[in-house]
């Protein structure tokens, strides 16, 4: 429907690609929000909606990739332009991953609804909101060429990490008090881990955006504060949300 003008400017083509990424980000954000709301409200229908919306993101990822490759093939861009096109592919991959994490959360929710209810965990929605904000902001940074904003997003990831650590401790004490809820708590832990991962993908996009805008990589190692041995172990073990998905 968009091919009305046969000769489009290169900028227009890039904008079209960016528009696909933006749309993906909107979907990913909503999917994460729905997944976590479904969990808090024990709402199976909403959880299923979150699972289903993953398909749309996958489709858009494919579209972004095809479009980027087509532009590369047709225009044979050099240096900066090529970097930008490769970046769009990478960003669309990262957004698709965020979608996978949310899908995983929603799947676990459908299981959790049938288990013992645990005390309200207010940290989870807070983590999700923070992740959502990071996704929106990092896309704005990329689209509006705002590298300082990209750095901002990148630093904010620490907050999600801290929230995760504190939730981890809280759940650990619950589990020690009440062994019956260990299964449910483990699901919650993986859910929190998935949100934390979504945040990591946002920082990943922040780095890509920064590189495209400034032409050099964002330096300085990220201040990581994951001092719980168990938390570190679970990180390696869960690097692919779909592979070891006990909920499906």
């Amino acid at each position: 429907m968009t091919d009305i003008h046969t000769i489009k400017s290169y900028d227009d083509e890039l904008d079209q690609l960016r528009a696909i990424l933006s749309e993906m980000a909107g979907l990913a954000e909503m999917q994460l929000a729905n997944a976590v709301t479904a969990l808090m409200a024990r709402d199976i229908e909403l959880a299923e909606k979150a699972i289903a919306s993953d398909k749309k993101i996958d489709l858009l990822e494919q579209r972004a990739e095809e479009k980027a490759i087509e532009v590369i093939a047709r225009r044979a861009p050099l240096a900066d332009d090529l970097r930008e096109l490769v970046a769009t592919i990478k960003i669309s991959n990262a957004l698709e991953r965020i979608g996978d994490y949310s899908k995983n959360i929603a799947k676990r929710t459908t299981v959790l609804v049938n288990t013992l209810p645990i005390r309200q965990i207010s940290v989870l929605p807070e983590m999700a909101q923070e992740a959502q904000r990071m996704i929106t902001d990092v896309l704005d940074a990329f689209i509006q060429r705002d590298s300082t904003r990209a750095i901002d997003v990148w630093t904010r990831d620490e907050r999600i990490d801290l929230l995760y650590d504190s939730l981890f401790r809280e759940l650990l004490t619950y589990m020690m008090e009440k062994p019956q809820i260990i299964t449910a708590c483990t699901h919650l832990l993986f859910i929190a881990k998935n949100i934390e991962r979504a945040g990591d993908q946002a920082t990943n996009i922040a780095e890509i955006a920064y590189y495209v805008i400034e032409g050099r990589p964002m330096k300085d190692a990220r201040p990581k504060r994951d001092d719980t041995a168990f938390a570190r172990a679970s990180k390696d073990e869960q690097s692919h949300p779909d592979q070891q998905d006990s909920a499906s």
Partner: protein, 442 residues
Amino acid sequence: MSTGKIIESGFRILPIQILVVVLLFGLHLLGLVDVLPALIIAAVIGIAFFWMDRRYRIVVNRLTDALKTARSTQRNLAPLRAKIAEGIDAPLLLIDPLRKVLDANRPARTLFGNNLIGRDVSLYVRHPDILEALGKVMQGAPIARLEASLTGAVERIFSISVSRVDNSRHASDSDGESTEPAFYVVISMHDITKMRVAERMRADFVANASHELRTPLSSVIGFIETMNGPAKGDEAAQERFLGIMEEESRRMVRLIDDLLSLSRIELDKHVQPKSSVPLEPILKGVAASLEPTVQKRHMAINILVPDSLEPVQGDADQIHQMLQNLTSNALKYAYEGSTVTLSAQPVDRIPESGQRGIAISITDHGPGIPPEHLPRLTERFYRVDAARSRKLGGTGLGLAIVKHIVSRHRGHLDIRSILGKGTTVTISLPIYQGPREPEDHP
């Protein structure tokens, strides 16, 4: 009617008068008329013409003026309409069939940024429901309505309509190669955050208040029961119990006050306060009002403010409340006899908003806060050591209030603490920008 026009019409009359005089003079030469009457007639006719012509000119001038204004109004209607759109206090976007933004009024530019014109709308508006509605309208639906909440520094909820406006000029182009689009789409957004937040908060408030009031209430009831039962007649015990009951009741009142003030701030969260607030008097006022606590714990407050500090943009009462909460925490939790420092200094960039600001720090020397608690301190009723905070009369709402005031001010809150050393809370608030002139369309 300007005098210039009258003079002009007077000059225009001359040829007619001359014509009459010449005509009469000719008749006289032919011997048909006498000189004197001829001249008199000529003068009378000339004056009559002059007078009539003048009246006539005035009427014509008025008519042409009216016509001119009518024509120019018509020509100017388009820009006038744009001005109306610009002044409407709700984001409006005009979009073409290729999803490009053709125009955006001021609230829309404030919401989405200044450079969206000419670019694909989904670069800026990425909420899936809005894009879906847009898709439907592009496909031919006349209008779609929805409600969507937009992620941002503060969440904003909008009631949105997406409507199609068909373009009549498109059809009138005969050769079919029209450059004008067949239709436009207008997205208009109406902010209903306040309404929705109020609804949500009513429920929250009841839940929070009833939960937190339960503990002191059941302790009061417990004491009343003891006084009515085992301790009946024991005056010493009764006096002690009454003292505790008074304390618990006061705590309940304070709790309700805090909850109410939290609700009020939350309700206005998306409206950034705009007054100019000089900080030094506030810092001094906070220190003065906490003097009793300072005395009781043998503490000292040290205020460090550079000479020429720009005012911040905000609400003076709320800034006072927030600094008071933080300073009272410092005085409450720091080591007895230590010094609490309040300092302020300019910063180039407030994290997240990126604006220039003033950073206000409250530093104490005390036991500090364990790192795992740091990210959660601003939750309602969260306390590191609930028993201790309760004993000190705390409600656990102090930092929650601070967080909401900061976010209403589009500021930034940062808490750093070293165990055994102390805690520094830093609040950055944007610098006062002056009464904002509405920027003009590029």
